[in-house]
């Protein structure tokens, strides 16, 4: 992959990107209180006296949130700090009733890690390792709505106090594509681990995008931070817009100011948040309401044991022992649900057909990614449809794998089964293709006799006619002849 450069009046520029991703932790209750975290509840219905920061209320840390953050840290190969501490980050805003956010500045829970991102789907060699500086745990703020009243903003504190993991990358990305690939890969890992649902529309993952520009090889430039960007596409747009703005500014003789900016998707531009001018003076100090968090070996061991097979390991296993193509291995592992569906069907088909998983993996992968996917979309059936069951899929793949029915018959039968009211087992039985050489030979003999002229042409060198004979034979056999056997017998008959 060629290096990403932005053309300016004074030559080429390089962009340097770091992302701070806020990932909402999957937990039933909040980080420091027992109120629920479910999305979409009635305003302020999931707010306890702790979340509303009523005087005298004390925070009590949720074990599950810590467990999820620890598991996430382990998934990015980062050391877990057995001793960490919570600090108060002080600022005033209407969505923050405490007047401070409980966060971890000085002693975060998770240290340095890294993830490997793929920069080109078609080229498995095009990978880059992006460093992660730290992961710490903190409280989310409430939600403000500005468009409901002419003079007031409305505040909903349901989200106030929900646990977030702040995942801070190193400034290792150099193009919008790399930033996008990093965010997608991070999301995949979080969803495999199950520590964040990765639902960006609902705000479960939001990124603060740090961007600076420099001449290639020069020192880092001054960075700006664009807050709360909530999609991969917007993150990439912010990088592009902000880099362009900084380059134009510098080339016009100006200086980039370190500041907080907002992204406006409607106008595709970033602008300064003046209200946050003082915002970097947070006057952090250790939260006197909370003792340091100390984790023991047993807790860490349990976290480690609970980790599933992660996407990189899974992809390597699919390509290696299971013998899938790099493309299919990638497609099957990108979303955890796809990988789970594949493994479930794979195990089921292997068991039903009495074969090893490696022997049926290719057929199962092709069935899921292309054949089944095609039938579902052509018939407007959702993958979640109860008829798209493990049993039905297993029966069809096993029948195709054993050669009892052809791959195209399997698709036809599946379509009929999804949209109509047929008995799947009977339909497979009725469409069994025959390898009965006697019947196929008889059909071939008749076709060759009826088409003596074409036989002459074929023997005279017009080999393309072979396909015609195959077609005629399949037609005579009503599509139930095993194509491999037909080919073989035809070749023999045509000498």
């Amino acid at each position: 992959m060629s290096e990403y450069r932005i053309k300016g009046e004074t030559g080429d520029w390089e962009v340097v990107i770091g992302l701070e991703v806020h990932a909402q932790v999957v937990s039933k209750s909040k980080l420091f209180s027992g109120s629920a975290t479910a999305f979409g509840a009635e305003p302020n219905s999931q707010v306890s006296l702790v979340d509303a920061a009523m005087p005298g209320m004390l925070p009590v840390l949720n074990k599950e949130c810590i467990r999820q953050a620890v598991r996430t840290g382990m998934a990015i190969n980062a050391p877990i700090n057995k001793w960490s501490r919570f600090d108060r980050k002080n600022y005033f805003y209407a969505d923050l009733p405490q007047g401070y956010q409980i966060s971890q500045l000085y002693h975060p829970l998770v240290g340095e890690g890294e993830i490997e991102v793929s920069l080109d789907e078609k080229n498995p060699e095009a990978v880059k390792t992006i460093g992660i500086e730290r992961i710490h745990v903190e409280q989310d703020a409430g939600k403000l709505m500005h468009d409901q009243h002419p003079t007031m903003s409305y505040v909903d504190l349901n989200r106030s106090g929900v646990a977030l993991m702040e995942i801070v990358s190193k400034p290792d990305m150099r193009s919008p594509a790399e930033a996008g690939a990093y965010l997608r890969k991070l999301r995949t890992i979080l969803r495999y681990v199950g520590s964040c649902d990765g639902n960006m529309e609902e705000g479960s993952m939001r990124a603060d995008v740090n961007v600076s520009v420099r001449k290639p090889g020069a020192e880092f430039g001054t960075r700006t931070e664009t807050k709360n960007v909530n999609s991969v596409r917007f993150v990439m747009a912010v990088v592009e817009q902000e880099a362009r703005r900084q380059i134009d500014l510098i080339e016009d003789g100006g200086t980039v100011v370190q500041e907080t900016r907002l992204y406006d998707p409607d106008r595709n531009e970033t602008r300064s948040m003046r209200s946050k001018e003082d915002a970097h003076d947070y006057r952090y100090f250790p939260d006197p309401d909370l003792l340091p968090l100390e984790l023991d070996e047993a807790f860490l061991a349990e976290c480690r044991a609970s980790l599933p097979e992660l996407p990189d390991a899974k992809r390597a296993r699919y390509e290696g022992p299971l013998g899938l193509s790099a493309y299919n291995a990638n497609a099957l592992t990108a979303e955890v649900e796809t990988a789970m569906a594949f493994e479930e069907l794979l195990a089921s088909v292997a068991k039903a057909s009495g074969k090893g998983e490696a022997d049926v993996a290719k057929r199962v992968a092709n069935w899921l990614l292309s054949e089944r996917a095609g039938v579902l979309s052509a018939n407007n059936v959702l993958a979640s449809d109860p008829k798209n069951s493990l049993e039905a899929n297993t029966a069809l793949v096993v029948a195709a794998e054993s050669g009892a029915i052809s791959g195209s018959k399997a698709k036809e039968i599946f379509a009929l089964y999804l949209t109509g009211d047929i008995d799947l087992a009977k339909e497979i039985e009725a469409n069994q293709q025959t390898s009965d050489t006697g019947a196929i030979e008889a059909a071939i003999a008749k076709i060759l006799a009826d088409n003596a002229d074409k036989v002459e042409q074929y023997k005279g060198g017009k080999e393309a006619l072979f396909g015609f004979f195959v077609g005629q034979t399949m037609k005579a056999m009503q599509g139930k002849a095993n194509p491999g056997v037909v080919n073989e017998l035809l070749k023999k008959a045509l000498g």
């Binding site: 937990s27 219905s45 707010v47 009590v60 074990k63 007031m152 505040v155 003076d281």
Partner: protein
């Protein structure tokens, strides 16, 4: 360590405290007196002493992830939570518009 007028004014602004110039002028020597008094602690040699994080030897207790396990600190208290709000409409707190 000591503070000057500008620092005191900035701290007051960050804490959203309205302090007059005369009050700030009076506060500068007061705060410097306090800082100097606390700074005496710096005279103690603490080489090799672990920083103390709490006065009581105790471990942070963790809570199980259960919704509203303790009704006193659980959710579902909208009316209580909104009771003291200067403006509460449609279940929201109403605050002066803070749009960017």
């Amino acid at each position: 360590m000591s503070v000057d007028t500008a620092t005191v004014a900035k701290i007051a602004a960050l804490a959203r405290l309205k302090v007059s110039e005369a009050e700030i002028a009076a506060m500068v020597p007061e705060l410097n007196g306090i800082l100097a008094w606390v700074e005496q602690l710096g005279e103690v040699d603490v080489t090799g002493v672990e920083p103390m994080t709490a006065v009581i030897e105790n471990k942070l207790r963790l809570r199980e992830d259960v919704i509203d396990a303790d009704p006193l600190t659980g959710g579902g208290k909208r009316d209580d939570v909104l009771a003291n709000a200067p403006a509460a409409e449609h279940g929201f707190f109403g605050v002066p518009k803070v749009i960017e």
